[in-house]
């Protein structure tokens, strides 16, 4: 087989780590949402790799990938609505200044 499973898994791991790095360090709230999308895509890539190489007969991994895509779309819509509401209240999208819940 030409392309091995390990390559896909390592690629997904790299994508996941980049997503976590962006999730923690970025200060723009929209960029945080983009990082979450990167995380979900990495998980999807894992699912598809396992589905193709370990379970090619009945592709249940693809079914789960479709579920994850749908959840990601719903999450993006709700997250952007939350960001819009916060932007109207606080007049900023800086993650360091969302300190309403700080004790």
């Amino acid at each position: 087989m030409d392309i091995q499973l390990e390559y896909f898994l390592i690629l997904a791991a790299a994508l996941f780590c980049i997503g976590i790095f962006g999730l923690v360090t970025s200060r723009n709230a929209v960029r945080v949402l983009m990082s979450i999308e990167l995380l979900l895509n990495a998980v999807n890539l894992n699912l598809m790799g396992f589905s193709n190489y370990l379970d090619p007969g009945e592709i249940k991994g693809q079914v789960f990938a479709v579920f994850v895509i749908t959840i990601a779309a719903a999450e993006a819509a709700v997250g952007l609505a939350i960001i819009l509401a916060i932007y109207r209240n606080r007049d900023t999208i800086d993650m360091e200044r969302f300190n309403l819940l700080k004790w």
Binding site: A14, I18, F67
Partner: protein, 182 residues
């Protein structure tokens, strides 16, 4: 693809990173086609590039304010620590992937002629309940997003008026008009 993903996280202008995110989604869809999954590749392009990315671009346009983020003390230390942790996590995952002996299936992956038929059978036989719950969740997300993003209604501004207007404008005002009038 790794370069575009790094660009999403590291670039300064957020519009560029949104377009690079589209590049990441497109390349992931190409990888899906390499993995014999044409339906999920098409769904990836439709949902992510067509819907999510356009939504993110609209959000960037709506909250677009060039603000200089004020400096936070110890930010560089935080970034370097996060980078170290992420690199360690990547090293851990990579060693796990390379060490584990995967029990690869001996069946050829191209055994399924039509993946859409197989996915549809899964959806309507053994994954029927998650499928229906997912539709309810999409409805909930839509209603929640509309309620969250709606502007606040201000009915008191209209009560002083004696004659109700017959125009089709909604009795609502954006909050910044009210706050600037004070």
């Amino acid at each position: 693809m790794i370069g575009t993903a790094l660009g999403v996280v590291l670039l300064d202008k957020i519009v560029y990173s949104a377009f690079l995110l589209a590049g990441v989604f497109l390349s992931i869809s190409g990888l899906y086609i390499l993995l014999n999954a044409d339906f999920v590749a098409a769904a990836q392009i439709l949902v992510y590039v067509g819907a999510v990315n356009v939504l993110i671009l609209f959000a960037i346009m709506l909250v677009n304010k060039t603000e200089n983020f004020q400096e936070v003390k110890g930010r560089w230390i935080r970034q370097i620590a996060t980078a170290l942790v992420c690199f360690g996590l990547f090293a851990l995952l990579a060693t796990m992937v390379l060490v584990t002996p995967w029990q690869l299936s001996v069946i050829s992956p191209a055994i399924i002629e039509n993946t859409i038929v197989t996915i549809g059978k899964h959806f309507f036989s053994d994954y029927l309940l998650p499928f229906e719950v997912l539709s309810v969740l999409l409805l909930m997300a839509m209603v929640g997003a509309i309620i969250l993003a709606r502007r606040d209604l201000i009915p008191t501004a209209q009560k002083t008026r004696e004659i109700y207007t017959t125009s089709l404008t909604l009795p609502e005002k954006p909050r910044d008009l009210i706050s600037s009038g004070k």
